[in-house]
Amino acid sequence: MLDQIISTFETGSGFWNPLVWLTALVIAFLIIYIVRGFGKREYKKGTDQTQAFLSGNPEYEKDKMHVKANNVYWGFTESLKSVYNFFGKMHTGNVSDYVLWFVIIMGILFLIFGVI
């Protein structure tokens, strides 16, 4: 049973073994721990060290500091505007259109199977 559980999973070009992976994970954590040991020990809470430094300007309110979801990936959506316009037009939110897509798919399938 146990050897069945930890047996290797192969796809032909890659493999996955839980034991190998766990060993890798442990080694990675060890490295992280060692690197963490190099850090400075002078950090103190509640002093000026914890303040954000914005070129000497005062910090904004917390609400304004947070990047809203609307603005994330703005560049991507802006550059692919045409694609998004097309997809947006597809999603009309009208029940009749949903059913119309069904009729269209049915028609295409009928054509495929009927003509050939």
């Binding site: 069945q4 999973f9 996955w16 609400d63 979801a69 994330v72 990936y73 949903y98």
Partner: protein
């Protein structure tokens, strides 16, 4: 003791459906006593269903196909008159999915729905939905499939409209029931064609007699179109983000099961009922022969690519937490049918024999696709539970108004990270294994498919990084100041799914050999399905 167990195993197909139904009929009565007793009762019922499912699945995986006839011990099989349940590997696999999700949903609802009114009806409908999904995946009768399809659609539509004071929920419920009733009626239309032609309703009998004449083609088209619409395959996926985001989160988790059950219907129709006719040569151009397998396979692959791309792109733009997961769910469904479609398109006859087989990479793709079904149920389920937890804590699903939740909801954040890793296919979560198989096998079918799949998987990661950034990271903003961690029952429910995800991710080979392979073999072996009912054919 052994006698009782063998009797239970023998009757488990009936009991799996009867227990949740009986529980559902009793729940309104139990609900009059006390809320707490009712909740315990409902959890008990789902666990009992789970117990029966596990013993049945164990039986099927060890001893092969199990049939159960309703109403007679020695039913006549020539002609087949009564309703049969027929459970092969694929049905058993689906039953496992269908029973995990309600258990989680019911445990989660204890905390989640505590403040709501109408809880008795809510739990009743969840149990009915469970019974419906289980009936859909276990049945071996076309008309019975339609009836259970309707049970799942009606109960899930009523639950989507649970928050009647939200206009999003109500309109989503209306769209959902219109779509599902039209889909179900079209299924009934196809069933009627089968009945008129073969005077049979049993799937095995139909599969045994099936030809590939005009009427069979029509029935195939209608069934595929209707069931893929219920399984939310682009461009008929638009109802899914509506319904998933309108429903309360635990309900959504179970609705994921209904979507997968419809997908199972597609597989059952294509592989089992039409399995015999996969290689009828419809027309040949020189050496190149056009077969139904090629047509269906290519068509499904095209739709799958469309599904993945649309799902991912719309998810990236969306700003509503639940809606975004809904589009991601669409993309995940695309992965499944991408694998299965490319598998179907590699069907061929080896020279010298007449048995239908599939190319090796096709079989691998099928394994990946089936494995991805259970992975998708777990991943999307966990993400929706997280979204529900965020909603419970903040009464907000719009990502624009969230931020800094990781400071207040530590466990939820961890669960979200697990879901994020799983859904975008990063090791060591379960999505990695199935997506790896899918990439590799579709690459052998056509490299472009694998490239699209990988790119979209990366974009899926980007989508959820966006959620992680805007909801969980960042400073504590004013609207999330008084947020508290969610109740224990919700954490337990999320923990169950997260544990399963990690287990499936760490030991994929174990899961594939024990659960996925029997399901794959069952799909590929339609003659066994037929002979289980009709005897040696």
């Amino acid at each position: 003791m052994n006698d009782i167990l063998s009797i239970l195993i023998n009757h488990s197909p009936a009991l799996i459906v009867a227990v949740p139904l009986f529980g559902a009929f009793l729940t309104p009565l139990v609900g009059m006593i006390n809320d707490k007793i009712r909740n315990i009762f409902v959890i008990f019922i789902t666990l009992l269903t789970g117990f029966f499912t596990v013993i049945l699945v164990n039986e099927v995986f060890t001893n092969g196909i199990k049939t159960y006839c309703f109403g007679a011990e020695n039913p006549s099989v020539n002609p087949v008159v009564r309703i049969f349940f027929e459970i092969d590997g694929m049905s058993a696999f689906m039953a496992l999915i269908a029973v995990i999700l309600p258990i989680v949903a019911v445990i989660y609802s204890w905390g989640f729905a505590k403040e709501e009114t109408g809880q008795s009806k809510y739990y009743t409908l969840i149990l009915l939905m469970t019974a419906g999904i289980l009936g859909m995946v276990l049945t071996g009768d076309m008309f019975n499939f339609f009836v259970f399809l309707e049970i799942t659609s009606i109960s899930s539509a009523a639950l989507v409209a649970f928050w009647t004071n939200k206009k999003n929920s109500v309109q989503a419920a209306f769209k959902y029931i219109v779509i599902s009733s039209i889909g179900a009626l079209m299924v009934l239309f196809a069933v009627a064609i089968f009945y008129g032609q073969y005077n049979a309703l049993n799937m095995a009998v139909i599969a045994n007699n099936i030809g590939f004449g005009f009427l069979d083609k029509i029935a195939l088209v209608v069934l595929i179109a209707a069931l893929t619409m219920k399984a939310a395959i682009a461009p008929m996926h638009m109802w899914l983000p509506d319904a998933y985001s309108g429903a309360p989160s635990p309900v959504t988790v179970v609705i994921v099961g209904t979507t997968l059950a419809s997908l199972y219907g597609v597989f059952r129709v294509v592989f089992t009922i039409y399995g015999k006719q996969f290689l009828t040569i419809l027309r040949s151009f020189g050496d190149f022969a056009v077969t139904p397998s090629l047509l269906i396979g290519v068509f499904i692959v095209v739709l799958a690519v469309l599904t993945i791309v649309i799902g991912v792109f719309m998810a990236l733009k969306s700003n509503d937490f639940k809606r975004m997961i809904g589009y991601a769910a669409v993309a995940e469904i695309g992965y499944m049918i991408l694998a299965v479609g490319s598998a179907i398109s590699t069907y061929f006859i080896p020279t010298g024999t007449t048995t239908v087989t599939m190319a090796e990479h096709g079989k691998m793709a099928l394994t990946g696709g089936i494995f991805h079904m259970i992975n998708d149920a777990l991943d999307i389920g966990l993400l929706f539970l997280v979204a529900g937890a965020v909603y419970y804590a903040t009464k907000e699903t719009s990502l624009n108004k969230l931020g800094g939740l990781s400071r207040k909801m530590k466990y939820t954040t961890v669960f979200f990270l697990i879901g994020l890793f799983a859904v975008s296919g990063l090791p060591p979560m379960n999505g990695f294994a199935s997506k790896l198989i899918i990439y590799q096998s579709t690459y052998q079918v056509n490299p472009i498919l694998a490239i699209v799949a990988i790119l979209c998987s990366i974009m899926l990661l980007a989508v959820f990084v966006k959620v992680f950034h805007s909801a969980f990271l960042g400073p504590e903003i004013s609207s999330t100041k008084n947020v508290k961690e969610v109740p224990k029952s919700m954490l337990i429910a999320m923990g169950i799914l997260a544990a399963l995800i990690i287990f499936f991710g760490l030991f994929p080979e174990f899961v594939i050999t024990n659960i996925v392979e029997p399901a794959k073999n069952a799909l590929l072996n339609s003659s066994e399905y037929i002979s289980a009912i009709l005897g040696g054919v």
